[in-house]
């Protein structure tokens, strides 16, 4: 805290030896018959020991020197009878402000050493040049060098202020005027009539330190920069949070509108909530009755007419107009549970029917739907209703969905080119990402040779107990959301629009294609299975960063 001004006035206070009650009260002498001087151009050399709102004040005096050399040298700068400690009452410790000329560093050390042992509240030094009126140099100037590395500032328990030489000499000379008894001071005659003769008339000073809130400029600068940085980070974070929130809401809306199928896209592995699962029909298996054959015939001829028996609002297929049927018709050809391979016992086995009309033992299908997937294990059709949206749309889901749709748009745009080029253009990260996504769910593969289905030997298709998969899913999807044909339904396994044909002409291209394909296949097997696990793998700071900057990659 630097001093803004030092105000010097003349005071009268009673001699403690001659008064009954000792108190700190004093009288300020009238300005027209005393010395008053506001010191300007003050340089603060040290602000040690000054608290805010606690301005140092005290009687002015010149501390004693210890060595004769200094005492001799002092004579050139200090009038002979300037106020010393001896000129002040001895028994009472008044607050003091020391005044001394800075004519040599060794003598300055002696001044400070004396002052440290006395109740000094502040130290005023002045430069030896009596003509100087400018503000003295700053504290690190060589004029204040003590050759002790500045430790004097720390060993002194009081602040030190430097005043211009001219002011210093003026104060010192006035101190010589006000060092004797009341009759010797200027206007002593008139003062004698006002105050007892034993009273002391001395100079008194109060340092007006500034408010102290002002920090050194470097700190101010740093604080401002830091503040700005925090502000920018905060604003960016806020913006990203807002944007991410809007994206989440948009994704939720699109999921609810049926434009996006999170699980089919491989964005998120959904599971079926228990309360919804309990709504799916459960009934005892009725056995292979006439209904079954009838429905089988129907299923094979007009698969499109297949509809959920009760017109379930939850069914993924929007229902075809006709025919509510009995439960029995639902179990077309299934006589065994596809999961445990046990036969259903007529009228005994409790079976659960999914919206795609496949039936399973309750014990077999429920844990799977609750914990693993929301897709029918047989036809990969979603069990969840079209507008179903998981309660929490996470930023990871938003990111994946955006990435997938962006890649898809790119693919669609680049489809006019040779497919080999597409493969070559895909960045590696995309491959691994898609491989991962492909591994999570019943999503499609990235690179698939369309001719594979034909070349596959016939006998590896397992037919026992596999019912004909109703085709209605595709058509319904097309009718409900015709504008989003690019969003595949899980039943469109072989990704017609996306999987590039193997380039057939150039062997070089073809080899490259096959290599990519093989890599993708391996990626399928080693990729992390789900979004949550992947999140855990990420490092902690990365997660923290993502919390502050959602959507940041």
């Amino acid at each position: 805290m630097s001093a803004e001004s030092i105000n010097i006035i003349t005071i009268d206070f009673p001699d403690p030896d001659h008064t009954e009650t000792i108190d700190d009260s004093f009288d300020r002498l009238a300005s027209n018959e005393s010395f008053e001087f506001p010191v300007q151009n003050i340089q603060t050399l040290s602000s040690k020991g000054v608290e805010r709102g606690d301005d140092p004040y005290g009687l002015l005096y010149i501390p004693a020197l210890q060595t004769d050399e200094c005492r001799d040298a002092e004579k050139d700068y200090v009038p002979k009878n300037a106020t010393r400690l001896d000129n002040l009452p001895h028994d009472v410790q008044y607050a003091l402000i020391a005044v001394a000329p800075w004519f040599s560093s060794t003598c300055m050390k002696e001044y400070f050493a004396t002052a440290r042992n006395e109740p000094v509240k502040a130290f005023i030094v002045y430069q030896p040049d009596p003509e100087s009126t400018a503000t003295p140099p700053e504290t690190n100037d060589k004029a204040w060098a003590m050759n002790d590395g500045g430790s004097w500032q720390y060993s002194n328990q009081f602040p030190t202020y430097a005043v211009p030489g001219a002011s210093g000499y003026l104060i010192a000379s006035q101190m010589s005027n006000y060092s004797g008894n009341i009759s010797t001071v200027p206007h002593g005659d008139s003062l004698k009539q006002l105050y007892p003769e034993t009273d002391y008339v001395r100079l008194w000073a109060k340092v007006a330190a500034d408010s102290g809130t002002q920090l050194p400029s470097l700190w101010v600068f740093l604080v401002i920069v830091l503040g700005l940085l925090i502000l920018i980070i905060g604003a960016t974070s806020l913006c990203m949070h807002v944007v991410q929130r809007r994206r989440r809401n948009a994704l939720r809306r699109r999921v609810i509108n049926g434009e996006v199928d999170l699980e089919a896209l491989g964005v998120k592995r959904l599971t079926v909530p228990a309360d919804y699962l309990s709504e799916l029909p459960v009934f005892p298996y009725l056995g292979e009755s006439d209904h079954v054959e009838k429905s089988m015939a129907q299923a094979s001829t007009t698969a499109d007419a297949e509809t959920s028996p009760k017109g379930l609002p939850l069914s993924r297929r929007s229902s075809a107009p006709d025919a509510p049927k009995s439960y029995a018709s639902a179990m077309f050809a299934q006589s065994t549970c596809p999961i445990c391979l046990d036969d259903f016992e007529p009228k005994e086995s409790q079976v659960r029917e999914l919206p795609c009309r496949h039936i399973f033992h309750i014990d077999c299908i429920d844990p799977f739907l609750l914990n693993n997937s929301s897709l029918c294990p047989i036809c990969k059709q979603s069990v969840l209703p079209p507008g179903y949206c998981p309660s929490k749309i996470t930023n990871v889901m938003v990111r994946r969905e955006r990435l997938i749709s962006r890649r898809r748009a790119q693919n669609a745009a680049g489809h006019t080119h040779s497919p080999g080029n597409i493969v070559a253009r895909l960045p590696g990260a995309y491959d691994s990402f898609r491989a991962r996504v492909g591994g999570t769910t019943g999503g499609r593969r990235i690179f698939s040779a369309p001719s594979r289905t034909q070349s596959r030997p016939a006998d590896i298709e397992m037919s026992s107990g596999t019912p004909p998969v109703p085709r209605a899913g595709i058509t319904a999807a097309a009718t409900t959301a015709p504008e989003i044909v690019a969003v595949p339904q899980p039943t469109q396994q072989n990704g017609v629009e996306e999987c590039p044909e193997p380039p057939s002409d150039q062997p070089q291209q073809r080899r490259e294609w096959a290599r990519q394909r093989a890599l993708a296949l391996l990626g399928n097997r080693h990729g992390p299975p789900g979004g949550e696990e992947e999140e855990q793998v990420r490092s902690r700071w990365r997660r923290g960063l993502n919390k502050i900057f959602p959507g940041f990659r």
């Binding site: 999961i339 799977f368 070349s455 006998d459």
Partner: protein, 153 residues
């Protein structure tokens, strides 16, 4: 692994025992039923005829919702089998996204047999072997027979 999965594996093993698919032998360990060891003979008429191939089938904990993992323990010169110490295969119904719970191990074994008769070039995991099979059948058969002599006797 859940009890139902174990039950299913037991059941499938039982079916394999009753059906006795030709040209293979299954070693089943009651203690560790998730890992089957299959000895498969190279099908007659293929380049692998006369060879005996050891296969390993490992059932994942999520079986039957996830496909079993098949690997050749005997080295085989085949476009669909990776040419490393893993000898892994990943195609057709063994692919996670194509696997369905109703599929059975017998079907997997039949798929492997048929692939030994006729490799699936479009799904080749070893493209160089696949190319050779397509463009230079004689060279391929020579190599395959060579490997059979070397590793599969």
């Amino acid at each position: 692994m859940s009890a139902s999965a174990k039950k299913r594996i037991m059941r499938e093993y039982g079916e394999c025992m009753t059906e006795k698919p030709a040209g293979m032998k299954i070693n089943f360990d009651e203690q560790n039923m998730t890992k089957w060891e299959v000895l498969m003979d190279g099908p007659d008429g293929s380049a692998y005829a006369g060879g005996h191939f050891k296969l390993e089938i490992v059932f994942p904990n999520e079986y039957p919702f996830k496909p079993p993992v098949v690997s050749f323990r005997t080295k085989i010169y085949h476009p669909n089998v990776s040419n490393d110490d893993k000898g892994s295969m990943c195609l057709g119904l063994l692919r996670p996204d194509e696997w369905k719970p109703p599929n059975k191990v017998v079907a997997v074994l039949r798929l492997i047999q048929s692939l030994m008769v006729e490799p699936n070039i479009d799904d080749a995991i070893e493209p160089s072997i696949g190319n050779e099979y397509k463009e230079n059948r004689k060279e391929f058969e020579k190599n395959a027979k060579d490997w059979v002599k070397r590793y599969a006797k």
